[in-house]
């Protein structure tokens, strides 16, 4: 086994080499932060929540299983923390449109760019309207390197079930988007 693999490092942490968790922290902090940020759209909160994930991993390191997959375990912890936070605040925070980065390909037309920007902002307002479960599955599906198989392991369901969840989330998103467009 590669001694620097996630699994190996976490087994070492479990065995008492607690400092090895620092490697996993550096490896995954950005991804976990990104996960929370795209759900809550709050940088300070997302940093807190990401930190909580790793503190919880440290605290409950004995529970890491011999046959575990670190990334899946980490995201399950992240989901639980996210769920607790959502229950606490009761609603997604409304997105601050000024924080939104525009990724526009140069179309050569100012008007096209304005229309596209407006549509993107509308799309993200629609995302804000989704319930936590639908939004979460879309965030997971767009996280770098995340495949349906991995999402299935994190959500503890089959790969087929993940595809259905993504389908339902996109369908709901489309409906909200259209209704916002028609307002």
């Amino acid at each position: 086994m590669n001694p620097l693999s996630d699994h190996s490092l976490m087994l070492q942490v479990r065995g008492g080499a607690v400092d090895k968790l620092g490697l996993l922290y550096d490896r995954y902090y950005s991804l976990v932060f990104s996960y929370f940020y795209n759900i809550f759209r709050d940088q300070a909160l997302s940093k807190d929540l990401a930190q909580t994930v790793f503190m919880r991993i440290l605290k409950y390191r004995e529970r890491y299983r011999e046959d575990g997959v670190f990334k899946h375990w980490m995201f399950r912890i992240a989901r639980n923390i996210g769920r607790d936070q959502f229950q606490k605040q009761g609603r997604w925070r409304m997105e601050d449109a000024e924080n939104w980065k525009d990724k526009l390909t140069a179309s050569g037309s100012v008007q096209d760019d304005l229309i596209k920007r407006e549509q993107l902002q509308q799309l993200h307002r629609a995302l804000n309207e989704l319930d936590s479960e639908k939004r979460e599955v879309l965030v997971l599906s767009k996280l770098e390197g995340m495949r349906y198989k991995e999402i299935a392991a994190i959500l503890d369901c089959t790969e087929g079930a993940v595809k259905v969840k993504v389908y339902r989330a996109l369908k709901a998103l489309k409906q909200v988007f259209i209704s916002l467009e028609n307002q």
Partner: protein, 262 residues
């Protein structure tokens, strides 16, 4: 579900709204892999337009706090004493070990039985050399891949190469000094430690200390210098102590490394 129904279902989806029963069928088809999400072009396009991203995050404070927590926990936690067998079983399951031992015994027996006449030893040696060359080529190619996990695999592969050529060692040093991924650089330090018998490798490792900005890599190199008992690294390590951007915990580690080497 017959193919023709799937196609009809897709056509109906594209034409207009599905009935409730058709929705159920569509979801079943998705779950069973008979329809892929990519075939639902409108949703696929929507998914492509979703842009999730995160701003650059400055987590230096949080990171420092986490490392402090780790150090505090390390002091309280007594490492569990693992016997040799426990350490082996940490990495390999009993089934894997049994299977590997059985294969080894079988391989030895087969090798003894099939032991070739001396004339064939040369051919086997040649074949071995060719296999080594192929491994090196694969490793060098993978080191240039954009994916950090591919580069990590490449570094791991170098540990399977019995006597690395100059090209491999040069590639590893290039990776140590230039790869943008910290984990790849850490793995490279481990890989290069296998060649630490060579004086030129040791010198280059010492030189590498000056190139490193990552605290993890700095600490790993300091640890390696101690393992190698390389007193020639003291100057380079002391230079690190003089840098403002080196975190305190790294400086502490470096100081203790220097104390051991002196």
């Amino acid at each position: 579900m017959q193919d023709i129904n799937i196609q009809k279902l897709l056509d109906q989806y594209r034409r207009g709204p599905l009935t409730a029963d058709q929705e159920v069928l569509l979801e079943q088809a998705l779950e069973q892999g008979l329809i892929q999400l990519e075939q639902l072009e409108d949703l696929q396009k929507l998914q492509e337009q979703i842009q999730f991203e995160a701003p650059e995050v400055d987590n230096r404070e949080e990171r420092a706090a986490f490392w402090e927590a780790l150090q505090a926990e390390q002091k309280h936690a007594a490492p569990t004493k693992q016997g040799l067998m426990e350490r082996i079983f940490q990495f390999f399951s009993p089934v894997q070990i049994t299977y590997s031992l059985a294969l080894l015994v079988f391989g030895l027996a087969l090798g003894l039985w099939l032991r070739p006449a001396t004339g064939d030893n040369q051919q086997i040696g040649q074949l071995s050399a060719e296999v080594q060359q192929m491994k090196e080529m694969m490793m060098l190619t993978m080191l240039d891949k954009p994916s950090s996990s591919e580069r990590l695999k490449a570094v791991s592969m170098s540990q399977d190469i019995n006597e690395a050529s100059e090209a491999v060692v040069n590639a590893l040093f290039r990776t140590l000094n230039q790869d943008k991924n910290v984990n790849v650089r850490l793995a490279t330090i481990e890989a290069l430690s296998n060649y630490a018998d060579s004086p030129s490798t040791r010198q280059r490792l010492i030189k590498s200390i000056r190139f490193q900005d990552s605290p993890l890599v700095q600490m790993a190199l300091a640890e390696l210098m101690v393992r190698m008992q390389e007193r020639g690294s003291i100057d380079a390590l002391e230079q690190l102590l003089g840098r403002d951007n080196v975190p305190e915990e790294v400086k502490t580690k470096i100081k203790s490394s220097i104390d051991i080497l002196l």
